[in-house]
């Protein structure tokens, strides 16, 4: 199925639905464009906005958190470009048996943070279909904001792990230009909220060391 370029829901409205349905104690992981948009709309200590990140790394990171914090729900919001770099992660998630994880992909067909270049996908990719094939018990695809709003509660409480594809418009510049909170500060806040032992390395990055 051909996709009309830049078609879909306004991305901030689509993400706001996720924020509105967020449960207390839920961990949220974002990356790339979502890591710039989400913190402008909402900030909580259990947020981990993973940007700049290894593209495709947010879903495995969220899976690790879901396996470690089995008493909590974990929500990860990835871009379609990042997901395309690590499609196997869908199989890793379903194979892990982590039922407390929801994977959301914001699908706009673009590498957004680099200026909006097209991904290799020339047709609409059925990410929900891929997730279903990978073994997700629940997989949904929404293109219309009213329908997404109406069905979000059911989709977010379906049997996990869950997968939700949201076809969205490109992100407005005011969000793309918004900085992601410093990762080091987020980790400190996050570990305080999660509790338990989380060491931070004494090794500095090469850049920080000035080498």
């Amino acid at each position: 199925m051909q996709r009309k370029p830049h078609s879909g829901m306004p991305v901030a409205d689509a993400v706001q639905v996720l924020i509105d349905h967020r449960a207390s104690g839920q961990i949220v992981v974002t990356n790339q464009g979502a890591a710039r948009l989400w913190p402008k709309l909402s900030r909580r200590p259990l947020d981990l906005h993973y940007n700049p990140s290894t593209m495709g790394g947010a879903i495995p990171l969220a899976l690790g958190l879901a396996l470690a914090q089995t008493q909590r729900e974990v929500l990860v919001v990835s871009g379609d470009g990042a997901l395309l770099m690590s499609l196997g992660a869908l199989v890793t998630v379903s194979g892990s048996g982590a039922a407390n994880l929801t994977v959301v992909v914001l699908d706009n067909g673009l590498y957004e943070v680099t200026g909006g270049q097209k991904t290799p996908a020339t047709a609409a990719v059925d990410f929900a279909g891929l997730a279903k094939s990978a073994g997700f018990p629940s997989a949904y695809r929404f293109r219309d904001l009213a329908v997404w709003r109406e069905q979000a509660a059911a989709a977010l409480s379906a049997a996990g792990p869950r997968f939700i594809s949201l076809e969205v418009e490109p992100m407005p510049p005011e969000y793309l230009r918004s900085p992601t909170p410093p990762l080091a500060e987020q980790i400190v806040e996050f570990r305080r909220e999660v509790g338990g032992r989380v060491e931070i390395s004494s090794v500095q990055s090469c850049c920080r060391a000035g080498s």
């Binding site: 700049p52 495709g56 790394g57 690790g64 396996l67 004494s202 990055s205």
Partner: protein, 160 residues
């Protein structure tokens, strides 16, 4: 070098909680013992680039993961390693199989670049060349934890 039950017992002794892995021909035979170890959970990934952020999530969630992969996968996952160990500064530990290390005069590039690449990333690493090196492994893991820094053990392997 190490049998499955030996490595499972050693990892349990070191309080590792999860093994995040893609096996190779040397570590693959450990699968049954690792999967059966009551104190460990074996997490299978599709690609080495997933292993590092997954281990990071486990660590941030309060667990103690070990990443197990081969040098070929190490090369593939360099950016994920950089992000997790250097940007996020998480002191994760990895056990990395080095293909052909035990083959005299091997020209296998998977062997040639293993240690130099780890050194380039700034990782403290130790070689495990025989079963007697188990103690060296245990001490190295404990030292890295004490110093809160990432580390790796290089497992010398035979031909592919």
């Amino acid at each position: 070098m190490f049998s499955g039950p030996e490595i499972a017992a050693t990892l349990a002794e070191l309080d590792f909680t999860h093994v995040v892995w893609i096996p190779d021909s040397a570590t693959g035979p450990w699968e049954t013992a690792l999967a059966a170890a009551p104190a460990l959970r074996l997490v299978r990934v599709c690609r080495e680039g997933e292993a590092w952020p997954l281990a990071a999530g486990l660590h941030l969630g309060g667990q103690q993961p070990l990443v197990v992969l081969q040098t070929t996968g190490l090369f593939e996952s360099g950016d994920a390693l950089r992000n997790v160990l250097l940007d996020m500064r998480l002191p994760l530990y990895a056990l990395i199989g080095v293909r052909s290390e035990l083959v005299a005069d091997s020209r296998d590039s998977a062997r040639t670049f293993a240690e130099p690449i780890l050194r380039a990333w700034g990782l403290d690493c130790v070689w495990l060349r025989a079963a007697a090196d188990r103690t060296k492994f245990v001490e190295h893991v404990r030292r890295c934890r004490q110093e809160q820094k990432p580390g790796a053990a290089l497992l010398a392997e035979g031909p592919p």
